[in-house]
Subunit: 588 residues, 2 copies
């Protein structure tokens, strides 16, 4: 071994090796659209809002509108970016419409930056967000004109507003505060053919998204083309992969239907880009993408029936709303596939869905992770050795395993892997090709989130010897009682199994002796109101103590009945508000 | 529109925007292996050579061997590269074995460069290739020791040879020419745990592969990690996607088998990395990867039976060999999936395969394209509107549509799209994220291949209004008769339909009046030898003139019967040799 290799450094500088390098091919959003229109030119996009006309476009027609929209952006003076300089930030205030979908392609293809605004935020938060991003152009659904009028005077950078609506007559507003106002469809009519940049650098920033803000002020995550494209590819792989057992996304051709299933895009596009569905559905060849416009459950039920939708997804609250709409009581939901995400579903909700024949899928992600990073993938040995029931339990109880190219670990406070015993709790940390670059203008939080080169989720988890990961609780939600952990998530799941409970949140309330003790905030189903008491709930939880499911000291100290639970803009239960409200309920 | 946006350039330099950028996540080969062992730790790799022991490893055990191999590379003095400097070139002389598979991961993960040697090349070509690449280390299957001994004195850079064999006793050779000799398994025994670089740059070169050389000297294509990883991802997507109709790769879980099918890796790894199978099979969770070692058809038949293989692929010649092995006559091949590639299959071969119940898939690629870039993807509208028979015809006659992220065009000599009429012939040009960076040390050929920013395949094609692409001929193989084109491919396909024809090649022979005229070189099936004459073949071709399939002037001027056709290292018919041999057969 002593004769070392020495030729190495004499000759192969880049020039000598390659002589001539071909221009790099970039992973940019236009490639997703090109793939869709090349492979599936006649697939459909349907926009059908409540009380409105049903519009439909083939992928090819959609592409033509995206092309015209490029011209519109140019006419508006939008500036294109590159890896060292972000393009114009373009705010969007809209429901899930075909126009929002057009913007999700046109803005990044132009080289500008999407800034989808969470319309459920408080006006003050929206002002904060838009000024922080320096949004200069806003595309606004007419439904949000009152909102934009109210906040416009405080928007420091806004110069142009484009109003989007389904009416025949153009909007007749010239200015709102300092901004000129235009009509979307009028601009589209005037638009000529546009040549998008042929090869944008994949490191160009394409979207700025704010975390939903369950803790503190919204933080701006930044993603480049590369991240969003790689996320879409990976979701497509697991979607077409994990069809067995029948727990998986079915937007693309699958074992049950060679055509794929019509998909209803319910997750708001302003919420982590509708979990990426606007991209992977077009690349994956969904035969029909259904866009519901403004959320009205009666209308959504109608869409599900008339468009033959068999595939949708959203946070548990949405599923709860669907299952509990009186209008839906007589609709056959057997075989409907619901992709859960955004928050953990309680056992009660899961059982309710199963009773109706709804097939549930699971997954895990955060705004910072684009979002999907973990989902159940069952290896051949598990499929062979576990019963169908055991497989289903695994898919619903665990969040699964990392997606292709994702690395996930559960670590202790020193960053060491905790034992893979399914018991020892640690923090879930991640590496993936589509995690945010960091928080815009917030180096400290960026540094804290990425310490040791791993993204720290703030979620407490366990993993088992097979590598399946289980979420125990958000680090911020876990209850610390006498130095020991109590999982609010677990308690919520158990309480939800009580037949009278519609929704529940468990928080840690300050306790003089134990530091914190669990308190359950419960919404009862209408028919049980006034008939169920605190001790009924407590006794219900005690049965799980008797069965050995939880320790005795996990039983909540108090149950509070309320008419509704506060929600965040992403329709998750807002525990921050609940903690502020009930923190001191055990003191005095 | 006159009020321009001017805020733009004041503030957002990269520093201000990101403050702190997290370290980039790279698309490198280690991520493929990590995905495989995370999701499918207990999937299997079987190495079972002719007259040898059956060895098997789980993906997890395989990963442990890859880890030790990193240590071996270090001990050998292999040097790691980066985007500006290639690492040590590591030549490999081997059949498809588990050791070759280990090298396909370990060498790039180390940062060095794979140089799989086409063992079918002439010794002089191998010397040319190894000196051009400056191979310093060679891993050599003991079967090729005579070859390496013969050429070693002419290998300018070779310093270390590692011998791989299945015997119990270590190899007892100290030197071959200037190179020190080691024993693979002995080095592995001594190896300690190795830490591969944690995050290699994806722009690091990982493989140098030579085109099979049907025209001129072999050219060295160069690929980085990024290209090979993106190719594996895209093939995985279409493989799990296009299961309908039943024409597709089934190595991963699918509609027919939730476990996926055991896959036999027949395409030699030295031939475009076995078409990428060593990577997408591990990432895609193939339950069992079967490696046959030295090619012996009787042994391969045994593997197919005993390992329950239902999935393999290779050039048409391999399929021909499988279908025509006497040992296979009584083996039930119904449902066996064969992925065709590397060359066009004749109609005769396709019919023969169908009679045996073998399901054929199609695809298109070149060494320069890593290789797969085009394959049949059927959109929902086609599946709904065409009959099963029409779909099957489409899948076999057309090479399909571009893979996700691939752009393909058929262009005239000025680079303009030819009409999408299924008739007008042009050159197939490509853009894709996994096309070679260029030819090593050959700027002129690189420039010629990539003129206008598109890779020029040299293949003549048509496309139809649906976007399906049809190969007419290699530009070099097309026959120019009186200024008009004759497709050698089409003639071969028609001649192959004659029951006596085993193999056929059609070339253009020099003709004083027409410039070139077609000449058919035919191998007859043994039972027809001496019983079929030139005029039988000519009359057979004339029936297609009568049916209007081809014009009258396409009928070959001459048929030459031979005992076998010359083949290239990639088992394709070597038309260059045929042209040299028969070019002047019409002159005198």
């Amino acid at each position: 071994m002593n004769e070392q290799i020495q030729q190495q450094h004499k000759y192969n500088t880049e020039e000598e090796v390659f002589n001539e390098i071909i221009p790099g091919y970039q992973l940019t959003i236009d490639k997703i659209l090109k793939t869709g229109i090349t492979l599936f030119p006649n697939n459909e996009i349907v926009y059908w809002p409540p009380n409105g006309r049903r519009l439909h476009f083939t992928f090819k027609e959609f592409n033509e509108r995206v092309n015209r929209l490029g011209w519109v952006l140019k006419e508006l003076g939008v500036i294109s970016g590159d890896p060292r300089r972000m393009g114009t930030r373009v705010a969007i205030f809209d429901w899930n419409t075909h126009r929002f979908l057009e913007l999700l392609y046109a803005v990044p293809m132009y080289g500008a930056v999407l800034q989808p605004v969470n319309i459920r935020l408080a006006p003050e938060e929206i002002i904060y967000v838009m000024n922080k991003s320096r949004d200069e152009v806003a595309f606004v659904n007419a439904d949000f004109l009152p909102l934009i009028k109210a906040i416009a005077p405080k928007l420091e950078y806004l110069r142009k507003i484009v109003v989007m609506h389904d009416g025949e007559e153009p909007i007749k507003i010239e200015r709102i505060s300092n901004a000129e106002v235009y009509d979307y469809e009028e601009l589209m009519k005037e638009a000529r053919e546009f040549n998008y940049p042929e090869e944008l650098d994949e490191r160009t920033v394409m979207v700025m998204m704010y975390t939903s803000g369950t803790t503190g002020l919204p933080k701006a995550t930044i993603f480049r083309h590369r991240e969003i494209v790689l996320h879409a590819i990976a979701v497509l792989i697991i979607a077409v992969w994990n069809w067995y057992p029948a727990h998986y996304l079915r937007f693309t051709r699958n074992a049950y239907n060679p055509l794929g299933e019509p998909s209803l895009l319910l997750v708001p596009f302003y919420h982590v880009l509708g979990w990426g569905a606007p991209y992977y559905n077009i690349m994956g060849g969904t035969p029909k993408i259904v866009l519901p416009g403004r959320y009205e459950w009666n209308h959504i039920i109608r869409l599900i029936k008339e468009e033959k939708v068999k595939n949708a997804g959203g946070v548990p609250t949405m599923l709860y709303l669907m299952l509990n709409s009186p209008e839906l009581k007589d609709v056959d939901l057997r075989g409907f596939l619901w992709s859960l995400g955004g928050a953990a579903a309680t056992k009660g909700l899961i059982e309710e869905a199963r009773k109706r024949g709804v097939i549930l899928t699971n997954g895990y992600g955060l705004t910072e992770t684009a979002p999907v990073v973990i989902a159940p993938t069952l290896s051949p040995d598990l499929i062979m050795n576990l019963s169908e029931e055991e497989l289903q339990e695994l898919v619903v109880n665990s969040i699964g395993k990392p997606l292709p190219f994702v690395q996930a670990r559960v670590v202790d406070e020193e960053g060491r892997d905790v034992p893979k015993d399914g018991k020892t709790v640690g923090e879930l940390v991640l590496r993936a090709p589509w995690i945010t670059l960091g928080y815009y203008g917030d180096p400290e939080k960026t540094r804290a989130a990425f310490k040791d080169g791993w993204f720290h989720t703030g979620d407490l988890a366990t993993w088992d010897e097979r590598g399946f990961i289980y979420i125990v609780d958000r680090a911020k939600d876990v209850i610390k009682s006498g130095g020991e952990w109590i999982s609010s998530l677990k308690l919520e799941s158990l309480i939800s199994l009580h037949p009278a409970v519609a929704e529940v949140a468990v928080i840690g309330a300050t306790h003089e002796k134990w530091g914190e003790r669990p308190v359950a905030i419960v919404v009862l189903r209408p028919e049980f109101k006034g008939r169920v008491k605190e001790e009924d709930i407590i006794n219900h939880v005690r049965t799980f103590v008797d069965e050995g499911v939880i320790p005795k000291w996990w039983v909540p100290d108090k149950v509070i009945f309320v008419d509704e639970l506060p929600k965040t803009g992403a329709a998750k239960i807002d525990k921050k508000v609940l903690r502020d409200r009930y923190r001191d309920v055990l003191i005095k």
